[in-house]
């Protein structure tokens, strides 16, 4: 039997190709690039973006958009920092509270979007403003987290040693765990398949008897939860909370999702792709750091162009497969 890559996997293959190509280019160009430290840092530094992007993937798959990601990450980070540092709450319940708040915000947005048919763009825009402002209500300045749980457990005890100099930070572990969970939900749960169905053709999905309303609200609740989780991961990473941080993170998340092969109109997409997209973004930044004389604004230009290339690629693939199917 002749083996062909089904058309729908082409963008994913392209993403993988770009990832491998970038990494290879980096290894060939710079002496220390191929070291374990670089790989580990890649995972650890981009972990919070990765968690947020995976949540964003579900929203975008369903045909929606979430602009509140960055603000919720910042908000939960300062919330945790404040609870721990100013109110003496142990980190674990603080984290639980932060996750609950994120989920609640997402749920509120989902209800507005579903029950009143408000456009996701505007509702999540409001969410973004709200969360950003609330972050500053909690505390105006950033705050370090000095609790033992953070200083000892997270940094030392929960890191996985790989060699004498290098150990995998807990944030990287979180990223991997969330990534696997995302893959599972997307491909092995009815909820995940319903998300794909809604993004594919909401009208048909309704006629097929799928629980549209419940799923939509759940999607945004999850998005809020994932954003909050990203905020938690960021506190692990930065050992602090900062209400002014992560401005524009939602754009990076969306870029990662698009580069990962998901259409911004929904219906086609891959959690695996988003994971790779995050790594690609991280690699670009790493390469630019290694280069030394290139300035970081090149990251933005390259990312923008990459997004354009992938969108055009998706359009081409869509046009090609569309011609063989429905027609006349």
């Amino acid at each position: 039997m002749r083996r062909r890559i089904p058309a729908k996997y082409i963008p994913l293959a392209a993403t993988a190709l770009v990832l491998v190509a970038l990494y290879t280019a980096g290894c060939l160009s710079y002496p220390n690039f191929a070291s374990p430290r670089v790989a580990v840092d890649l995972l650890g530094d981009n972990a919070f973006l990765g968690v947020a992007a995976i949540g964003a993937t579900f929203v975008i798959l369903s045909g929606g958009i979430d602009l509140s990601v960055g603000s919720v990450v910042a908000f939960t980070s300062i919330l945790i920092a404040s609870l721990v540092g100013e109110h003496g709450v142990h980190p674990l319940p603080a984290i639980a509270i932060a996750l609950a708040v994120g989920a609640a915000l997402g749920s509120a947005m989902g209800c507005l979007i579903h029950f009143y048919r408000l456009p996701p763009f505007l509702v999540t825009l409001a969410g973004m403003f709200f969360a950003r402002g609330m972050g500053f209500v909690v505390r105006e300045q950033s705050l370090g987290i000095k609790h033992a749980f953070y200083v000892e457990d997270i940094i030392q005890n929960l890191a996985i040693p790989v060699s004498r100099q290098v150990s995998i930070p807990f944030t990287a572990v979180c990223f991997v765990v969330v990534f696997v969970a995302g893959l599972y939900v997307a491909h092995y749960t009815r909820f995940g398949r319903t998300v794909y169905a809604i993004g594919g053709d909401e009208q048909s999905a309704r006629l097929m008897g799928l629980p549209i309303g419940r799923t939509k609200i759940l999607i945004y609740t999850c998005a809020g939860l994932f954003s909050a989780l990203a905020g938690v991961v960021r506190t692990f990473y930065m050992q602090s909370g900062d209400p002014a941080s992560c401005v524009g993170l939602e754009l990076d998340a969306i870029a990662a999702v698009v580069i990962g092969g998901t259409l911004l109109s929904g219906r086609v997409g891959f959690v695996a792709g988003t994971g790779m997209g995050v790594l690609i973004l991280g690699l670009i930044q790493t390469i630019i750091n290694f280069q030394g004389n290139l300035n970081t604004w090149w990251t933005k230009i390259v990312v923008g162009l990459l997004v354009l290339v992938f969108i055009l690629l998706q359009n081409v693939v869509a046009a090609a497969s569309g011609r063989s199917g429905k027609g006349g």
Partner: protein, 511 residues
């Protein structure tokens, strides 16, 4: 061969179904019965109530009056899921499945087998293969649905219905996008399912197909039941007359007053169409348009009339044939090209393709004229108002003022606004698709007279209508379509309603 009726039990019984929408009684005391092991066709022209009846069955609408019994028990489906659970499955014309998911997943979506909450993909594939096997269909179930042809997609939809253990299968205009071979395959599947004991409702407007596959046929008209007949025993002409509502014997043999075409001798054709066609839309068709002549396009719903108009106006690209205007070959690649050649088009679906709802009557009327002038030669407000008033008067558009928002006008007046839009551009060929639908009697006469006046002034007109009386009255030449192909062209003295109906019906179907 259809089964004996006495031996088949009643599966579905709908009695006295009524449904009212604001301003219109969509269904009025309709009865509908389907037996096990039977294919029952449901037909009727536009507005007959077919889709409303089915929607009360599938849970999309709630009936106002009447009862529905399935297998002897009363049911009241409120949502599509209810209907599904009861064993009523529908396969729609637009194949309501998810195009980017696989065949297998579409069949099992919403009911995927799971173990501890995790979906079992192998089980899904197995189930899909089994469901398709019931239709004697073998297919790579991991393929993306959209990579399959529409015919296969419909089979998948049917397979899904079976997987849900449907007792009653409703096929809503399933053959509109299929070619002959695919239709035959679909029908063999339908017959197989019937023989397995399913009850099948087949909604269509293709006469040949009604005779091909159905055992019984129910005709609706204007929301009322006209009758239920055994298909084999009903001559085609009688079926057509039941649908249209004219007793074939009662139609006057004498022709009503026909509007004269333009006076004068033979004129040079403005546009010649040879072999224009597109797969799934219309078989290659020939037509000629002469200034001062109104050409009618007659046929039942779904016979390809609108499709022909869309090809002419450049909305759809033709795959075969050519069009000559003024002797020169032209490529009708877009509406703008057609308009530049002097064409105009009032679409059938005025809400979706015609009226700009939130703009005023004035703006709607001057739009095409302004488009022709471009951006930098705007019509002054005063001039726009003048033009609008001129047409409001000429066509009798009922509106408090020219600034009234178009969406607030009645359907008939919206139609007049559309007419005004094109008349303002003074086209050489005006294509009117169902121009008098939804218009009161007085206004209809006005429009017919208008057509006559326009012809007298030298315009060529393509007049598409399901009302034969109208076609006969206004046209000097009638092209008759059936099942997406031209069957005949009637000229002059041969044009009368009887002749058209006979032409549409074709030969009687041998049982």
């Amino acid at each position: 061969m259809p089964m004996e009726e006495a031996g088949q039990s009643v599966l579905l019984e709908m009695r006295g179904i009524g449904k009212r929408f604001p301003g219109v009684q969509a269904l009025d005391a309709v009865d509908f019965t389907v037996r096990r092991g039977q294919v029952h066709a449901l037909i009727g022209e536009n507005g007959a109530g077919k889709s409303t009846l089915i929607k009360t069955l599938t849970g999309a609408y709630r009936r106002d009056t009447g009862t529905i019994h399935l297998d002897g028990r009363p049911i009241d489906p409120r949502t599509p899921k209810d209907a599904e659970t009861l064993g009523i499955s529908t396969v729609y014309q637009e194949v309501n499945l998810i195009p980017h998911l696989s065949v297998a997943e579409n069949i099992c979506l919403g009911r995927q087998p799971t173990r501890f909450g995790a979906i079992r993909w192998r089980a899904i594939a197995r189930r899909a293969v089994e469901a398709l096997a019931r239709l004697e269909l073998e297919l790579d179930v991991s393929r993306q649905l959209s990579s399959c042809s529409i015919a296969i997609q419909q089979m998948v939809a049917i397979a899904r219905a079976l997987d849900i253990s449907a007792k009653l299968l409703i096929l809503d205009e399933p053959t509109s996008s299929l070619d002959e071979k695919e239709v035959a395959e679909l029908f063999s599947v339908v017959r197989r399912l019937r023989d397995q004991g399913l009850g099948i409702v087949f909604i269509t407007h293709f006469l040949d197909q009604v005779y091909d596959v159905s055992d019984r046929v129910t005709v609706l008209r204007d929301g009322r039941l006209v009758g239920e007949y055994e298909t084999a025993g009903l001559p085609r002409v009688e079926l057509v007359s039941r649908m249209i509502g004219k007793e074939i014997t009662q139609v006057e043999a004498a022709r009503p007053d026909r509007l004269p075409g333009a006076a004068g001798g033979a004129r040079e054709a403005f546009a010649e169409v040879r072999g224009l066609g597109r797969k799934g839309s219309i078989a290659p068709i020939d037509m000629t348009f002469t200034p001062g002549e109104a050409v009618g396009l007659a046929g039942l719903l779904g016979s390809g009339r609108t499709e022909t108009a869309r090809l002419l106006f450049g909305i759809d690209r033709a795959e075969t044939g050519e069009v000559r205007v003024g002797g020169r070959k032209v490529a009708l690649t877009s509406p703008r090209r057609a308009i530049r050649l002097g064409f105009g088009f009032t679409p059938e679906d005025r809400r979706v393709e015609g009226i700009i709802p939130n703009l005023s009557v004035r703006e709607n009327i001057v739009l095409a004229l302004q488009a022709g002038r471009g951006i930098w030669r705007p019509l002054s407000r005063k001039r726009q108002a003048e033009i609008a008033q001129q047409f409001i008067r000429a066509l009798g558009i009922k509106t408090p003022s020219a600034e009234q928002v178009a969406a607030n006008l009645s359907g008939g007046n919206q139609q007049k606004v559309l007419l005004a839009r094109w008349l303002a551009t003074q086209p050489k060929l005006l294509i009117l698709d169902e121009p008098t639908r939804g218009i009161d009697v007085g206004a209809k006469a006005e429009i017919e007279n208008l057509v006559g006046r326009l012809c007298a002034e030298g315009m060529a007109i393509l007049f598409i209508s399901s009302e034969l009386e109208e076609v006969v009255r206004t046209c000097q030449r009638v092209v008759v379509l059936r099942d997406r192909a031209k069957v005949d062209e009637l000229v002059g003295p041969r044009i009368d309603e009887q002749a058209i109906m006979h032409t549409i019906a074709g030969h009687d179907h041998a049982a």
